[in-house]
C-alpha cells in the first residue's frame, strides 16, 4: 500500500523512452469503483499547465517515480470531473459527518483504494459512494 501524500511530486517517466512527462500533482478517485481514475501532472517539459493521465497507462508506482507505458501521447486532453479527496469533508449516506480525509492508502499495482484515513478513523475503500464538491460520501456502517 502507498499513500496519496507520498506520490505528490514524484516524477512521471515513460518506460519506452525514459522521457519525463512531469510530476504527480494529484490523484483523481473514481469513488463508486474504489479506484484511482487519473493522475494529474504538472510541470511537464513540453506542456504548460495541467495534464491528465488515465491510470490504465501506469505500469508501476515506486517510491521514487511513476512509470508509464509510453509517451505516445498518453495524456488526455479532456479534464475529468475532479474533486480533491485530500482534505475533503466525509459524509455518511445517513447524513452524518465523519471528519475530513487526511490521506488515502492504495495498491500501486491495481490503483485500488485500500483505506481512507479520516480525522475520525479509517474507512475501507469498499465503502466509498461518491466524491463531489461538498463531500466524500461513504456507506454508513
Amino acid at each position: 500500500m502507498m499513500l496519496f501524500s507520498g506520490t505528490k511530486g514524484l516524477p512521471v517517466v515513460t518506460a519506452d523512452e525514459a522521457a519525463e512527462l512531469g510530476t504527480v500533482e494529484a490523484l483523481a478517485v473514481e469513488a463508486p469503483l474504489g479506484l484511482i481514475g487519473h493522475l494529474r501532472l504538472s510541470g511537464g517539459p513540453a506542456r504548460k499547465g495541467r495534464a491528465w493521465l488515465p491510470w490504465s497507462l501506469v505500469r508501476a508506482v515506486g517510491p521514487d517515480a511513476v512509470i508509464v507505458r509510453s509517451a505516445a501521447e498518453p495524456v488526455v486532453a479532456e479534464e475529468p470531473d475532479h474533486h480533491e479527496i485530500l482534505g475533503s469533508r466525509v459524509l455518511t449516506d445517513r447524513g452524518d459527518e465523519h471528519g475530513t480525509v487526511k490521506d488515502v492508502a492504495f495498491d500501486p499495482a491495481t490503483g485500488r483504494i485500500g483505506t481512507v484515513h479520516t480525522t475520525q478513523g479509517n474507512v475501507s475503500g469498499h465503502r466509498l459512494l461518491g466524491l463531489g464538491d461538498y463531500a466524500l460520501v461513504i456507506r454508513a456502517e
Binding site: G95, G130, G132, D133, Y134, A135, L136
Partner: protein, 202 residues
C-alpha cells in the same frame, strides 16, 4: 432510537447527492395535514444561487435525513414545489404557534417547534407549557411532549393526550427516552385491548 431533531434545526442543512455534490439547502420543513410526517422541504440555493429555489424536495425522494445533511440519490430528486407544498399546505406554517389543548380541554401551551425522527415521523412537539400542564409553579416552561397516538390537529390547535403531561421532558435527550416509554405503553394497551376482544369471540 436514532437521534431526534428539531424541525427548526433542519433549516440551512445542505442537500447533498450520493455523488457528494451539494444541490441546495433546506429552507422550511413541510408536514402533512395531521403533522404526523414530513412531506418534504422547500429549498434555498447555496453560494451564487442563494435565495429561494423554484424546486422543492419531496420526502419520498430523500435518501436519509442526518445530523449534518439531507442525502438525496441525485439532482433529479428535486421536484416542482407543488409536489411538497400543495399536499402539506394546511399544516405548513400552522404548526409552530398553534395552541395546545389536552383531550380533557385543558390548555397546555403553544407549539414552539416540532420534533422529528430520521425516518421523517413527527414524534413530538416542543411547547411553551402552562403551569397547569407541567404541574410546576415557576411560570411558563419550554418542554417536550410526545405526539402520542390520539393527537388531533384542527386548524391552529393541537390536542394532546392528557397522559402526555407525565411524559414531558426538559431537553431532547431525555425526551428520546420518554418517547420510547410512551410508545411502549401505547403498544401494550393496544395489545391488551386486542386480547380482550379475542376473549369475547371465545
Amino acid at each position: 432510537m436514532d437521534a431526534l431533531m428539531l424541525a427548526s434545526e433542519l433549516a440551512k442543512r445542505p442537500v447533498v447527492t450520493l455523488a457528494g455534490e451539494v444541490v441546495a439547502e433546506v429552507k422550511d420543513t413541510v408536514f402533512d395535514g395531521t403533522a404526523g410526517q414530513i412531506t418534504g422541504f422547500t429549498l434555498n440555493g447555496r453560494g451564487l444561487l442563494a435565495g429561494p429555489l423554484k424546486q422543492s424536495l419531496p420526502w419520498s425522494s430523500v435518501h436519509a435525513l442526518g445530523r449534518h445533511a439531507v442525502l438525496v440519490p441525485g439532482r433529479e430528486a428535486l421536484a416542482e414545489p407543488a409536489a411538497v407544498v400543495a399536499s402539506g399546505e394546511a399544516a405548513h406554517g400552522a404548526v409552530p404557534g398553534a395552541k395546545v389543548l389536552t383531550d380533557e380541554g385543558v390548555e397546555a401551551g403553544s407549539v414552539l417547534d416540532v420534533v422529528v425522527a430520521p425516518d421523517g415521523r413527527v414524534v413530538g412537539f416542543r411547547i411553551s407549557a402552562t403551569e397547569a400542564f407541567v404541574h410546576r409553579d415557576h411560570g411558563r416552561h419550554s418542554v417536550f411532549v410526545p405526539r402520542g397516538e390520539a393527537l388531533a390537529v384542527s386548524g391552529r390547535a393541537l390536542v394532546v393526550p392528557s397522559g402526555a403531561s407525565h411524559f414531558v421532558a426538559d431537553d431532547l435527550p431525555s425526551f428520546t427516552t420518554q418517547v420510547e416509554i410512551f410508545a411502549a405503553r401505547a403498544a401494550a394497551s393496544k395489545g391488551s385491548k386486542g386480547t380482550a376482544a379475542g376473549r369475547e369471540h371465545l
